[in-house]
């Protein structure tokens, strides 16, 4: 992998001047992912913050070819682009090597776009799918998603008098995609840029489908100060909320192994969306959150052969 000095000399494929919020994890995720590409890249995005903020007509922040189609079909759309590329290549109309990447938030990936993603992965397109996961539908104003953590207050899982935020646990999308037995699946975080760029490089280099699930906090939805985006991402990894691991040709590998996980409250406490969990009488909710982390961590360690 390139050194940070070399990476800093690579051209920015998503330029500045777009309209994403200060402290947004999405654009950081996209830039780090694109640093991992060594061939010409064609990108697509699902409807969402990333798409609306980077393409307000007549402007575009994309220095590479880019397509937005709709909300739930970023994977299917890029699969079509890739298929047309291969068809044109087969007929000798194109020679240059190109790689294809589809971006989507957790709304467009865990929920409404899951079928489209599953289909594209199963069909074996040579494409990378990247989920920038901020744990809710942030573009429409912070509504719960299948990735919203237990207990989080969103506008559709508010912390009310009788309901303390989202009652359900998150679904594990990375494992769902790993179950497609594609060449490369990984979970990464923008706080661990070296790990992320390396994973992106692997994802782009395999022949066939690859999937990256990237922790990308949203200060608006998480109720965190803009300047702690990277710090809170790091804590998500250190607490085991967002383990860094990869599944390469069926081999599971844990990429970050702390001796001991930090307590989940370190992750929850700085975020306004979990404030109600710290009220007296809600201790059992914090215990439930911790128990879930412990269970998943122990399962993942076992799966990765780490004791």
């Amino acid at each position: 992998m390139a050194t940070i000095k070399e990476l800093s000399r690579k051209p920015e494929l998503l330029t500045g001047g777009h309209r994403l919020c200060a402290g947004c994890g999405a654009s950081i995720a996209v830039r780090q992912v694109l640093l991992g590409a060594n061939d010409q890249v064609i990108a697509g995005s699902a409807t969402g913050c990333l798409e609306v903020s980077t393409t307000p007509y007549p402007f575009s922040a994309w220095k590479i070819p880019f397509i937005h189609n709709a909300f739930e079909n970023s994977a299917a759309t890029i699969s079509g682009v890739e298929a047309a590329y291969n068809a044109l290549k087969r007929r000798g109309k194109i020679e240059k090597k190109m790689k294809f990447v589809a971006f989507g938030g957790d709304g467009g990936t865990y929920d409404i776009g899951l079928q489209s993603l599953s289909g594209a992965m199963e069909r074996g397109h040579d494409m990378v799918y990247v989920c920038y996961d901020n744990g809710a539908y942030m573009n429409t104003g912070i509504q719960r998603s299948g990735s919203t953590p237990f207990g989080a207050a969103t506008t559709t899982s508010p912390a009310g008098k009788v309901r303390p935020g989202k009652p359900q646990q998150r679904k594990d999308l990375t494992q769902i995609i790993a179950a497609h037995n594609i060449p490369y699946v990984a979970q990464a975080s923008i706080s661990h840029w070296k790990d992320l760029v390396k994973k992106a490089e692997k994802a782009f280099s395999v022949e066939g489908p690859a999937f990256l699930n990237v922790m990308a906090p949203c200060p608006r939805g998480w109720r965190t100060p803009n300047e702690i985006t990277i710090e809170i991402s790091k804590i998500s990894v250190q607490t085991g909320f967002w383990p860094l691991y990869e599944v390469e040709d069926g081999e599971w590998k844990l990429n970050f192994k702390p001796k001991e996980l930090k307590p989940i409250t370190d992750f929850l406490k700085p975020q306004g969306r979990f404030r109600h969990l710290f009220k007296p009488g809600n201790e059992h909710l914090l215990e439930t959150a911790q128990a879930e982390i412990d269970k998943n961590w122990s399962w993942l360690k076992k799966r990765c052969g780490v004791e």
Binding site: Q40, I42, G44, E51, V52, T55, P56, Y57, P58, S60, W62, K63, I64, P65, F66, I67, H68, N69, A70, E72, N73, A76, T77, I78, S79, G80, V81, E82, A83, A84, Y85, N86, A87, L88, R90, R91, I94, K96, M98, Q115, S116, S118, G119, A120, E122, R123
Partner: protein
């Protein structure tokens, strides 16, 4: 050289697709279109086409992949029916809004509920305002001919709109008819090479597809689609002429049958026109001044041609194979009536809703409608503006 063969409507659709040999086909099987996908998959498996075939997991992804494929710079085609078209609905508007020349065969079928697999026009009529050119075919021959012409219409430099080629489920999709098939090089020569506009794969000139356009630009996008649709009327005509010189078969936006000196006529879309024409011949033998008009191009709507053809008549029944559920009949009837708003003279107009869910329409049914027109001309008015044919009430 052209050869005579026998195919079903689906078979003709698949053969036309094989001869056009697009770069990509993304499709999902659904009754009554399934055979098209099966046959095309076989062409791919046997190496008869170089087309990249995407057996996607849904119609939504079929249209999404087609949008990606054509934006990339490939010629793409798909087919569907009924619920599949309904499932694609969101993407239909994006295909036309992005001005992407996609060609899609639709084996018309009723929409649920109740679930029904047979032919009516509920599916494509639901998509009539989606910005697609819509052509309705009468015969298996026409399915084949229209699919080939549709490629040129969609890719016409001043049109660049997606095109739907509609044919009745079962009565055309599954009916074996003999037809004349062009030689492959004739078809390839006619459709020519696809010249994409602003392809994504032109990496030296990167473009952004599908941007956000709000009140400052959105309206202008739509207005340009209106212009493109108006141009499509001319393109359909010119390409039909060119195709006529190649094949000897001439098609137009509307097709009149024995309308000269006619007093009463039936207007229809699709295969029902054959039954109506048969009935017209019998009625003419009996001295009734009957005629028929078939609307082949429903989008763009050929209002001038319809007015011109029907204006001199005393009474006209518009055969609607779908219900708009608006409280005053089917979409074709409503639009034909609207076409006469500005004319001074107009025939009495009866909207006939018929054949829903595949209910058969025979010669006697058509005679019944002509009987209604006679009653109306005798009375000088329509007793009821909407007539439900062959319905238990």
């Amino acid at each position: 050289m052209a050869i005579r063969v026998a195919y079903t409507g689906n078979g003709a659709c698949a053969q036309a697709m094989r001869q056009v040999e697009p770069h990509m086909v993304a499709a999902y099987p659904i009754t009554p279109q399934t055979e098209v996908v099966e046959e095309f998959a076989k062409f791919v498996a046997d190496g008869k086409v170089k087309t990249k075939f995407l057996p996607v997991e849904s119609e939504h992804s079929a249209m999404s992949a087609c949008i990606g494929g054509v934006a990339a710079g490939g010629r793409v085609m798909t087919t569907t029916a009924s619920q599949g078209l309904a499932y694609m609905w969101e993407m239909l508007y994006i295909a036309s809004g992005l001005r992407l020349p996609i060609v899609m065969g639709v084996a018309n079928r009723a929409l649920s509920a109740p679930i029904n697999i047979h032919g009516d026009h509920s599916d494509t009529m639901g998509a009539r305002d989606s910005g697609w050119v819509q052509l309705y075919c009468k015969t298996v021959q026409e399915v084949y001919d229209t699919l080939i012409q549709a490629v040129r219409i969609a890719e016409h430099d001043e049109v660049r709109l997606p095109v739907m080629v509609c044919y009745d489920g079962f009565s055309v999709s599954h009916s074996l008819m003999d037809l004349e098939v062009l030689a492959e090089e004739q078809v390839k020569g006619f459709v020519g090479r696809f010249t994409p506009r602003y392809p994504l794969l032109d990496i030296a000139n990167p473009v952004t597809y599908g941007p956000l356009a709000l009140y400052d630009f959105y309206f202008e996008y739509r207005r340009q689609q209106v212009e493109a649709m108006a141009t499509a009327e001319r393109a359909v005509r010119e390409i039909a002429e060119e195709y006529a010189s190649l094949s000897g078969r001439r098609y137009s936006a509307v097709e009149a049958y024995r309308l000269d000196n006619a007093e009463v006529a039936l207007v229809s879309l699709g295969s029902t026109a054959s039954t109506i024409e048969y009935a017209v011949d019998r009625l003419r033998d009996e001295g009734v001044a009957a005629g028929a008009l078939r609307i082949r191009t429903f989008r763009p709507f050929p209002k001038d041609a319809i007015r011109e053809a029907l204006e001199p008549l005393k009474a006209v029944a518009v055969m609607d194979r779908s219900e708009s559920l608006s409280g005053w009949g089917g979409p074709v009837g409503i639009e034909v009536k609207a076409a006469f708003y500005e004319t001074e003279a107009r025939p009495l107009l009866l909207d006939v809703v018929y054949g829903l869910g595949g209910r058969d329409v025979g010669v006697d049914d058509v005679r019944e409608v002509f009987g209604e027109l006679k009653k109306a001309t005798d009375a000088g008015k329509m007793s009821d503006p909407v007539y439900y044919l062959s319905l238990r009430e």
